[in-house]
């Protein structure tokens, strides 16, 4: 056998995709009809209140209540987009605090550099006590940090080396911001204060159907266009993301060391044997 690779992936047949999707949807709809009816009534109520709020805000905006830049238009979008566009050699450092409508919170912090070979280090901590920290690189370097035992597993991983860009654990908000700003649906919508800073509101309204809809309010620093806050609101549920840090750092050796877990935790025990790491983690007393 000369070729040990599995055949290339095939797309799921398009005609079957549509028909099976509809079938699955009908099964789910049948199953959840009662609950759906209840939540729909709630959604309609929220939708009505939301629509009234939008009308009031629009009226205030037109009357100049926000002052100054009430329709920042394409220039604002361009500025916001430029603020999240990264030049060659730069490292992006982001720290986000997120709050969901159920009051659960999470903190996501990451450093990334897209120069070849790309490098990424990311940490996610949830209010439930979960914590995950990894560093990966296009060179195939894969590090996992265990905070309980202050230990690092370091491996060469050909699966990671084969990726064209980092596969980020969790959501890539940077990517989502760029999608929002280039969707053609985002537009400037006045100003407000965020933590004492003058912020420009960029609003993306998604198509509305039967009173349902969503609104993304992305707030950027009025001077620099850098992200400050993102309110993702969907039919009564929401997620608020606060950009505690959004900075671009020059790719100096010192800054590049931020992408390495061994440099971040110099006192940590480093394992190269996954089995030994596994054993050490398993032995650690539960918190």
């Amino acid at each position: 056998m000369n070729d040990h690779q599995p055949p290339e992936q095939r797309a799921f047949p398009a005609a079957l995709l549509r028909q099976q999707k509809e079938y699955l949807m009908s099964e789910i709809a049948r199953d959840g009809r009662t609950r759906s009816r209840r939540s729909r009534a709630l959604v309609l109520r929220i939708g009505t209140v939301g629509a009234l709020a939008v009308i009031v805000l629009a009226a205030l905006s037109l009357s100049g209540a926000f002052g100054g830049d009430s329709s920042p238009g394409p220039l604002t979008i361009d500025k916001a987009l430029a603020a999240v566009t990264v030049a060659q050699g730069e490292i992006v450092h982001i720290r986000i605090t997120g709050v969901d409508s159920d009051k659960s919170t999470f903190v996501q912090e990451n450093w990334s550099c897209s120069d070849e070979p790309w490098r990424y280090r990311g940490m996610t901590e949830t209010s439930g006590g979960g914590r995950q920290e990894v560093a990966i690189a296009g060179s195939g370097l894969h590090q996992v940090y265990d905070a309980r035992t202050d230990s690092i597993l370091e491996m060469q991983d050909e699966t990671i080396a084969a990726l064209a860009e980092p596969k980020v654990p969790g959501e890539s908000y940077e990517k989502m911001i760029r999608e929002l700003l280039t969707s053609g649906l985002a537009q400037g919508d006045g100003r407000e204060q965020v933590d004492g800073r003058d912020a420009v509101r960029i609003v993306e309204k998604r198509p509305v159907e039967d009173g349902e809809g969503s609104e993304n309010v992305y707030l950027v620093d009025a001077d620099t266009g850098r992200p400050l806050e993102w309110r993702i609101m969907n039919e009564g549920e929401n997620r608020i993301l606060r950009f505690d840090i959004y900075e671009k750092l020059p790719g100096t050796p010192e800054n590049l060391s931020l992408l390495d877990l061994k440099a971040a935790y110099p006192g940590a025990t480093v394992y190269t044997d996954p089995a030994a790491f596994e054993q050490a983690v398993a032995k650690a007393p539960a918190e």
Binding site: M1, L17, Y23, M25, T159
Partner: protein, 200 residues
């Protein structure tokens, strides 16, 4: 409805899953559309038959729905979870096929012209090749096979594979490293890494 789907397409999987749990069928439909191809290919890479993979794809989603009360989607991507469900469906294939036979019979025929015999020659060649590869893979213990397919052929990260199989990340790393070592020996007793199997 198109506007609604466009709007759904901006949701993360986790949010779609939450919406589906509240009975919003379109959210589940979006999850299916998003991941059907990956699930289909994963199934093919495990069973070596495109037609079986196609039938089992819907079963994986139906099984995901059936087990919804026990499932909590911690990640923003549902793919590791779906591939975990697919692994179990394959393991208990007969039972799953029996359970969903009636449900699958209710699926209407495709509305537009579509032939199951499309690309039949290429598919047969691919099945032949896959059968050969699986012949080697099946010489590994089952739990190591899972990791080779998930991490090497489907390119899941260790963390995602750990989620899919409900294992600690360290276990995934050590088990995979053992599996790769064993597989190298099977492919080339001289110890030279054979190209392909161990690279995505």
């Amino acid at each position: 409805m198109n506007g609604h789907y466009l709007y759904m397409s901006t949701y993360s999987d986790r949010r779609l899953w939450e919406r589906a749990l509240e009975g919003e069928a379109a959210a589940f439909g979006e999850l299916f559309e998003r991941h059907a191809t990956s699930v289909y290919n994963y199934l093919f890479r495990r069973c070596g038959n495109w037609a079986t993979a196609q039938d089992l794809t819907s079963i994986v989603f139906l099984e995901l729905w059936r087990k919804r009360a026990d499932i909590s989607l911690e990640r923003d991507s549902a793919l590791p979870l779906l591939l975990g469900v697919a692994t179990n469906v394959l393991r208990n294939r007969r039972r799953a096929e029996r359970r969903y036979r009636a449900a699958l019979e209710r699926i209407p025929a495709p509305s537009e012209s579509w032939s199951p015999h499309e690309d039949v020659v290429e598919k047969l060649a691919e099945e032949e090749r896959m059968k050969e590869l699986l012949g080697i893979l099946h010489r590994l213990p089952k739990r190591e096979q899972d990791l080779i397919v998930l991490c090497v052929w489907m390119e899941l990260t260790y963390e995602e594979a750990a989620d899919a199989l409900c294992l600690p990340v360290g276990t995934v790393a050590s088990r995979l490293s053992r599996a790769k070592r064993r597989l190298r020996g099977l492919l080339d007793p001289s110890g030279q890494p054979a190209p392909g199997v161990l690279e995505p």
